[in-house]
Amino acid sequence: MTAALAIDRLEVVFDRFRALKGVSLEVQPGESFGLVGESGSGKSTLLRAIAGLAPVTSGGIAVDGRTLGRGRDKAFYRQVQMVFQDPYGSLHPRQTVDRLLQEPLAIHGVADGERRIQRALDEVGLGNGFRFRYAHQLSGGQRQRVAIARALILEPSILLLDEPTSALDASVQAEVLNLLEEVRRRRKLTFLMVSHDLAVITHMCERLMVMQNGEAVENLAASDLVERKVTKDYTRNLLKASEGFVRA
């Protein structure tokens, strides 16, 4: 079986700073794969490099067995879409939801826009009432739903999720995570998801990679984390930190 997404010794260098130091991973079709680490560990850079938003210095990225070159063509973006962390920054403030959702359709010359917008909005649980609102008229959770609808409207097979819930309240986070799981099941999507929250990643993903300083620390199955079967101190610290504050 060809991997949906194969990363081979990927290097990303900004000026002289090596943000990614030869990271490799494979995500199978329909799988949900998580990346965990602290700020500066390179997890978001990896996602951005796949989407063509960060400069790849060396190494290879292959989607469904096809190796990507420097540029990304339209076919790539029909297949791979990204959801960003901050729903306050990732939606155009002067465009209505309708206009936001038309943009990808116009770029890709999709004909049945009307039906797709309806479907995407229904799918993320927003309905038609939200169609002609502006981003500032929506709550954080509703905005992230719009961002997910925008990613889904081209019917991609792979979603890159960069901390999709870390700007949201805990209660809203649960709603958005449930939504993501549901669309994944319905559309048989492949997820590559970044989060600094181990609990979120174990909840959402079958396998995960722990990253630190642009390198892979270890690869784990979600079940390993549940059984605390980790080998590296760094992961152990993350696990401990996720359990909350303990007074000494």
Partner: protein
């Protein structure tokens, strides 16, 4: 237990073109020298409560209360000048994100010294000494170097420690921490909490810890107030959180993913209109 802060029927309202928005609707609580957590979602009025106590409510908003007293001082009747003397001196506030709450064009040391000299008459040399000692107290390894750095040159965790140092230097009796660790990495979060915990305990301060993370707050505070739509829906001892009664509190506790529980889909809050009544 002596009462440090007494809040009774606190209300904050914002007049807008489309009518009055009631951000805080009759909040009452008392605080001694203890750690009190205020938990709620965005828009529940938890930050507005903190800001009203601090006296940082914007001028267009209206604050009213039957009683708002800090150490016997009636804050509702205090002049702006008196409030200003309290602010930063006896009542201090830590904000969420050091990227925005520190002055970007002033070195960290100068900002700390500025706070100190705004409230006490001390020489420049002594102020510097005390700022360095404070930076050391928040476990910054090389205080002399960090003293001269600007906020953009330090990490989020370091910036937040500098913020705590700045807030503690005048020796406040009440500290309001508004989401002090939400912008930080999980591991750094715990370091910062440890520092805060130690300093609060050593100095016998009262602490109001505002956060949306009920689990974090309950592991850190003695007592928790849960707010919904501008009202207090439940007050409970952190140690008895398991026996919480209100469905909103239970929902908040339950909705977070846990590493050792396989729950698909996650339980979500089923908001009832009567909670807001």
């Amino acid at each position: 237990m002596s009462t440090l802060l007494d809040v009774e029927d606190l209300r904050v309202t914002y007049p807008t073109r489309t009518g009055v928005i009631e951000a805080v609707r009759g909040v009452s609580f008392q605080l001694g020298r203890e750690r009190l957590g205020i938990v709620g979602e965005s828009g529940s009025g938890k930050s507005q409560t903190g800001r009203a106590i601090m006296g940082l409510t914007p001028p267009q908003a209206q604050v009213s209360a039957k009683k708002l007293a800090f150490d016997g001082i009636d804050l509702m009747a205090a002049s702006p000048r008196e409030r200003r003397a309290l602010r930063g001196n006896r009542i201090a506030m830590i904000l969420q994100d050091p990227k925005y709450s520190l002055d970007p064009v002033m070195s960290i040391g100068r900002q700390i010294v500025e706070t100190l000299r705004a409230h006490e008459r001390v020489s420049k040399a002594e102020a510097r000494e005390r700022a360095l000692a404070m930076l050391e107290a928040v476990q910054i390894r090389d205080p002399a170097r960090v003293f001269d750095l600007h906020p953009h040159e330090v990490s989020g965790g370091m910036g937040q420690r500098a913020m705590i140092a700045m807030m503690l230097i005048a020796g406040p009796e009440l500290m309001i921490a508004d989401e002090p660790t939400s912008a930080l990495d999980v591991t750094v979060q715990l370091d910062v909490l440890k520092i805060l915990d130690k300093l609060v305990a050593e100095r016998g301060m009262g602490l109001i810890f505002i956060s949306h993370d009920l689990r974090l707050v309950s592991s850190f505070c003695d007592r928790v107030i849960v707010m919904y739509a501008g009202k207090v829906v439940e007050q409970i001892k952190a140690s008895e959180l398991r026996n919480a009664q209100h469905p909103y509190t239970l929902g908040l506790l339950d909705c977070m993913p846990r590493i050792d529980a396989d729950r698909h889909p996650l339980p979500v809050l089923d908001r009832k209109p009567e909670w807001a009544a």
